[in-house]
Amino acid sequence: MREGPGPPAARNKGARTANVTDRFRRPFAADYPARSLHPGAWWLWALGLGTAASRSTNPLLLGLVLAVAGFVVAARRSTQPWADAYGVFLRLGLIVIAIRTVLHIVFGGGFGSTVLVTLPQAPLPGWASGVRIGGPVTAEGLVAAVTDGLRLAVLLACVGAANALANPKRLLRSLPAALYEVSVAVVVTLSTAPQLITSARQVRRARQLRGDRARGPRVLRTVLVPVLQDALDRSIALAAAMDSRGYGRTAGVPPAVRRATAAMLLAGLLGMCIGVYGLLDAGSPVLIGLPMLLLGAAMAAGGLLLAARRVPRTRYRPDRWRAREAAVALSGLAAVVAVLAAEALGDTDLVPPVAPLTWPSLPLLPAVGVLAAVLPAWVAPSPDSPPEAAA
């Protein structure tokens, strides 16, 4: 139902050859109906909201995060295929809550004194005494499980908001040059699903216009074959286009530098692994922790920089980081800062006690911070508006 805003005139050119030239011309013409925000800004905003949500089990605050993200998505999402992601992630969140609740009821931890219902308890051997199946279900435990599931669901919804708002392909364009082969592969992968959907839609519509009303397994054959053929054609066209643009060529880098690059990357990643382990394990020597992590990160960064020399590359119309991007990212940061500050101040409303049960109350400071994250609904450029001159 939602289609890209390509010019209809260009689409109706039937001939294959015309399509290829059309494909090259298109980015210059109508692909950018409005300036789109840097995808990194959307991701920072959404991760900020998600981090804020992950620190709380207050259903009011979690609901506020959900509403803020939903409002911004409703106001600023485009008509691209991925713009429906928010609803998909909301449904995923409901599944998460359901699973969390069922798991609690079946393997529930025992605490709380308000027993709602007592399920039959499966007898387990002594070596499994830490596990309980069935048994009493308490209101306290149920509330704790549902709010915990809600926390995860809201976190997912924030990721869904970022998916709905940020253009994944443009995000990949912003990756460092050293990761370019990886990003090419990811772009091709990411393009597959929307393209298959579009292709299937077109085939179905073509069938309908021809009066083909077949149902059942025969549909599979009449749809699948053209769709697969279409996918193959596209792959070949894409490969040709990439080759003609010089993808896959590498600059002549001496073997010594190449080996040094690989060694630095490997050592850097290893150092980061050891550093993280040292940080998390309280028993290991101090030197293993933060210093090792920093050293590893520095080596990995150096390796990436060296590796980037292998791929001299220009960016066509790079996404620029401007005031709007900064404002969107900062509004997400405000939510995290407010929640962390409230946590440091000892705000008990962030995590309402479950035993005994209490009514939640909206904590003021985190609510203000989360509300600040609704600003992108006005700050970000509207996908409906005409393109900015500077875009």
């Binding site: 139902m1 289609e3 890209g4 805003p5 209809p8 689409r11 294959r16 399509n19 059309d22 494909r23 298109r26 980015p27 109508a30 692909d31 089990t57 009011l60 605050l61 609901g63 506020l64 509403a67 409002f71 409703a74 106001a75 008509t79 798991l103 393997f107 931890g109 025992g110 605490f111 709380g112 004194s113 005494s129 830490g130 435990g141 704790a144 915990d148 253009n167 392909k169 393009s191 929307p194 579009t198 292709s199 077109q202 519509r205 073509a206 053929q229 066209a237 309280a282 000892g346 962030l350 006690p353 479950v354 035993a355 005994p356 009514w359 939640p360 109350s361 904590p363 509300l371 409906d384």
Partner: protein, 318 residues
């Protein structure tokens, strides 16, 4: 994973110093022998480690879980935020809750009277202590309580002739404290908690009490100050004495057992109403915006028939 963690961690509870535990235990612990004579139910020993001495209490009757025994013995507890089931504070110790790191947490122990402590392999919310057994809580890195398990007895079967008119100030015979609802008239103030729901208000049911009397600061009345005849002479003497809590060795009736902030108050109600209104309003605004935008941007289904071989959507080429 949360579930898994919750299973292991409740075994463990909070706070600070480990070193002083043994010394403090030796100094202030009530003589186990005397305690043995006192508790008709589950004896509970709480070792505050370096943050206080050792206190002991008695949960009369048959508490349903380790947590119920803990609160039945007059100790209040709170969980680690976002990890319900993992005890963080007992009697507000440590304050503030430290999140129960591996070297400063409340470990949970069982023992037979006169036996030795064994680390619980069940959470305190799942374990059902038998009457006559002993529960131990020790703050630190998982070392057992610095006190020999005080003895406890299974409640004896009800003697045939309880003395219903016995004034509460009298030394309560074991019989009235039995969980067995055998003596309808014998509701002296020492009835078991689960047999006297309408007893003194602060004898509240485990886990649900809210707003108990302010706590004596932990360690202020360590076990060493126990009366000679623990509890029996004076504690239940007034109507304010918690009916189900018979101090075993210095656990005073005034222990705070409810750390959660007092419920109620205009601010919290306002916070609830404002939160619901805000979330609802913003949600409606989002729904309305989505509707308005979807009406404005009519799905641009192109008019012409589509050639399946058409190139991908423009966005696919970015």
């Amino acid at each position: 994973m949360t579930t898994g963690r919750r299973r292991l961690l409740p075994l463990v509870l909070i706070a600070g110093g480990v070193l002083a535990a043994t010394a403090a235990g030796g100094a202030v612990a009530a003589p186990p022998a005397r305690a043995a004579a006192a508790c008709q139910g589950v004896a509970v020993a709480v070792d505050f480690g370096s943050l206080g001495g050792i206190q002991a209490g008695c949960a009369i009757g048959d508490p349903a879980s380790g947590l119920a025994a803990l609160s039945g013995a007059g100790f209040g507890y709170t969980f680690v935020p976002r990890q319900p089931g993992l005890v963080c504070q007992i009697n507000s110790t440590p304050n503030p809750c430290n999140g129960a790191p591996p070297d400063a947490y409340w470990s949970y122990w069982h023992a037979k009277p006169g036996g030795s402590w064994t680390y619980s392999n069940l959470g305190a919310g799942s374990y059902n202590p038998a009457p006559g057994s002993v529960e131990g809580w020790s703050f630190g890195a998982g070392q057992p309580p610095g006190i020999a398990p005080p003895a406890a007895e299974s409640p004896a079967p009800p003697p045939p002739s309880p003395t219903p008119t016995q004034p509460p100030a009298q030394q309560p015979a074991p019989a009235p404290r039995l969980p067995v609802p055998a003596a309808p008239g014998g509701t002296t103030a020492t009835a078991a908690p689960n047999a006297a729901p309408n007893a003194a208000p602060n004898a509240g049911r485990p886990g649900t009490s809210s707003g108990g009397p302010p706590a004596a600061s932990p360690g202020a009345s360590p076990g060493g100050s126990a009366p000679e005849q623990p509890s029996h002479g004076e504690v239940p003497s007034s109507a304010t004495g918690p009916a189900g809590v018979v101090p075993l060795s210095g656990v005073s009736a005034g222990q705070d057992r409810a750390q959660p902030p007092a419920v109620g108050g205009g601010g919290r109600a306002l916070g609830l109403v404002a939160g619901v209104a805000l979330v609802g309003g913003l949600g409606c605004a989002a729904w309305w915006t989505a509707r308005r935008r979807s009406r404005h941007t009519v799905p641009p289904e192109p008019a012409g028939p589509h050639d399946p071989g058409l190139p991908p959507e423009p966005a696919g080429r970015e």
